[in-house]
Symmetry: C2
Subunit: 389 residues, 2 copies
């Protein structure tokens, strides 16, 4: 019995091994500080919890329309107007099981097998796996500090070839936390349009931004796919609810595909998400954003002080992608040792691509300030013991 051939190209999350080891150590009574996981330790905002509970208590937890609750699609449309001053007809908005479901839907409806997609390297690990799922091809474009670890119109020009069909941009980015400037994003969209290509814009870290400059791709074109989620900014990871915005021409096919591959997105999560745009929720999220901003500054300053190289200060998300090559030329081994000796878990670059990944570690500032601060003490001790040994 043979596993499907596409599975050869699909990589596991390497961090899972590290996480498993961390859990093992915890089970043995070790105190582990987690800076490896892309999940804030905030709880879901209270109005969202209350809405979810009220819905469930009524007992009628039934399938919703495949495209999602009309009220929720409308609230998302309103949000685009308030936040970005763009008008999005609700026919173009689909509620999905997280950004993950949005990716499945977007690629399933638009990519043919054999099509090539340009991805920045490093980027979020699932991206290339979604592409392989549909037997399409990935072209990794190494990105560096000069473009803030983002694709650029120049890079597209260099790497776009006959079979290239699409590009994916994620801003703020996982793992680098960096953003693409509005003017550059506009140029990229223009470039892709002239090639009759597709642009997928992963905007899941919108809202978690600590510098100005974050723009939705929708500000420049209605012919793009926008992927977003309630997971990160809205604090709803485990609820599995996000959304996809498609160009008008893709709406009927997207609806058909959603019927088949989801039936619908989890109902209580959709009803709960109706409270995500309440004033009280947004006020709470703004407080959290400020809190994240302080954590970013704190972690950034500490990592620099310890001698890590971070050429571009991250402007969003909750990650710092730090060059540790002055301590080790094998970031995976570094991460393993750091876990074993100090009980500090961070993610090695390997999970995010091929471009000098052995130089990088991703630190997530998703825990409390005390936690991060304790993590930095452990890191400092680890580095000095390495240097004296």
């Amino acid at each position: 019995m043979q596993v499907a051939s596409r599975m050869e190209a699909i990589t596991p999350f390497y961090v899972m091994e590290l996480l498993a080891r961390a859990k093992q150590l915890e089970a043995q009574g070790r105190d582990i500080i987690h800076m490896e996981i892309g999940e804030p330790d905030f709880t879901t905002p209270q109005p969202i919890i209350d809405a979810g509970v009220a819905y469930i208590k009524a007992g009628h937890v039934k399938y919703t329309p495949a495209a999602g609750l009309p009220e929720l699609r409308q609230k998302i449309a309103d949000y685009y107007w308030q936040r970005y001053r763009v008008t999005v007809p609700i026919q173009r908005i689909f509620i999905t099981p997280g950004a993950t479901g949005a990716f499945l839907l977007a690629l399933g409806v638009s990519l043919n097998s054999g099509d090539e997609v340009l991805l920045s390297d490093p980027c979020y690990p699932c991206n290339e796996n979604f592409i392989h799922l549909f037997d399409a091809k990935v072209k990794h474009v190494p990105v560096y500090a000069d473009t803030a670890y983002q694709l650029s119109a120049d890079l597209l020009q260099q790497h776009w070839q006959a079979l290239t069909r699409a590009i994916l941009i994620a801003s703020p980015s996982n793992p680098t936390g960096t953003i693409i400037q509005a003017a550059e994003l506009e140029k990229c969209i223009h470039f892709v349009n002239t090639r009759q290509g597709l642009l997928y814009s992963d905007e899941i870290y919108h809202g978690l931004e600590y510098e100005p400059g974050v723009t939705s791709a929708l500000a420049f074109s209605d012919q793009v796919f926008v992927i977003n989620s309630f997971s990160k900014y809205f604090g709803m990871t485990g609820w599995r609810v996000g959304w996809l915005i498609v160009p008008e021409a893709y709406s009927p096919a997207t609806e058909k595909l959603a019927q088949n591959i989801f039936i619908s997105t989890c109902s209580q999560s959709q009803y709960a998400a109706l409270a995500a745009f309440d004033e009280q929720t947004l006020a709470e999220l703004e407080k959290r954003r400020q809190d994240f901003s302080l954590k970013r500054d704190f972690l950034y300053a500490h990592l620099l002080r310890l001698g890590f190289n971070i050429p571009v200060k991250p402007a969003g998300a909750f990650y710092i992608y730090a060059d540790c090559s002055q301590f080790s030329n094998d970031s995976q081994q570094f991460a393993q040792q750091l876990l074993e000796t100090e009980g500090l878990a961070v993610t090695p670059g390997k999970d995010f691509g091929y471009n000098e990944h052995e130089k990088y570690l991703r630190f997530a500032y998703t825990g409390s300030m005390e936690n991060i601060s304790a993590g930095m003490q452990r890191l400092e001790r680890f580095i000095s013991s390495k240097q004296t040994s």
Copy 2:
């Protein structure tokens, strides 16, 4: 901008148009009786609701492991022992967003593009679309009363060809409610094994059975894929939680694919489902099963009395697939007229395949007895007005 070519092969649910029209009529104040939808109007059992609410209230609605909560996988393993006397190691059990997610995972991990899958015709409409999603091929095998509208070893013998790689069996079946006998299922499994093929067994309607004879494919082999869900028997449609059991050799690839295409299944639904096997829940479900059984008998008797042909009495699920050719040679038109003139919504055969579909209507007995009874009065009136006109 072009839609992906796989989308040409993917069909929408035709019943959605009918449903949309039904909703339109309702909005105009018409009273519509719904017998078109595969969703019971029971609420989710109270212990499940309570467990879900308690989990959400704590606020920490976080990602779970990709394969699902270990406790839930263990409870499912225990259930297989209690119910079927088969031992399933939890490494083979994956929690998924419904049977829908289980299908995505099972086919994604095992089917190559170009592989052919044998499906009974009629069958559940999504099946062929899942197959097309992965650029694999469908071979429809027309099934009739002689095999209770199920595949059989003889049919496999007739239809299996060089490119055939897998078969899908669903028992009890949607739309026919019929079951495959244990001995025949065993023969099919044996046949597939000798061809080194794959068998997907959709067991979502297990538990909703009103005659003896329903067996899990796992009773005969551990080299099969079993798809199941908390949606139907456990009354949890909108929660989007189900499971997949894979042959041992597929476990690592399945885990990897689940990480990528789900991250995890909705957390509160998993925590809620922990209460699905409680004594109190199971007692409630047994009452509902008996209730469904009465509804089946009632609907079956009425349809026969009105002159519909139902060659095999359905033994499970909550559907009757009735031959209406004595009233119409176009079941879609029949369904449309029935909706317009009498406000009774049923699903035309077109949604379930190509095999004489224009002769068939699917009636779902998911509503209350009063509802079904009122539906039958409307149907009778419709038929007699047709016959006099």
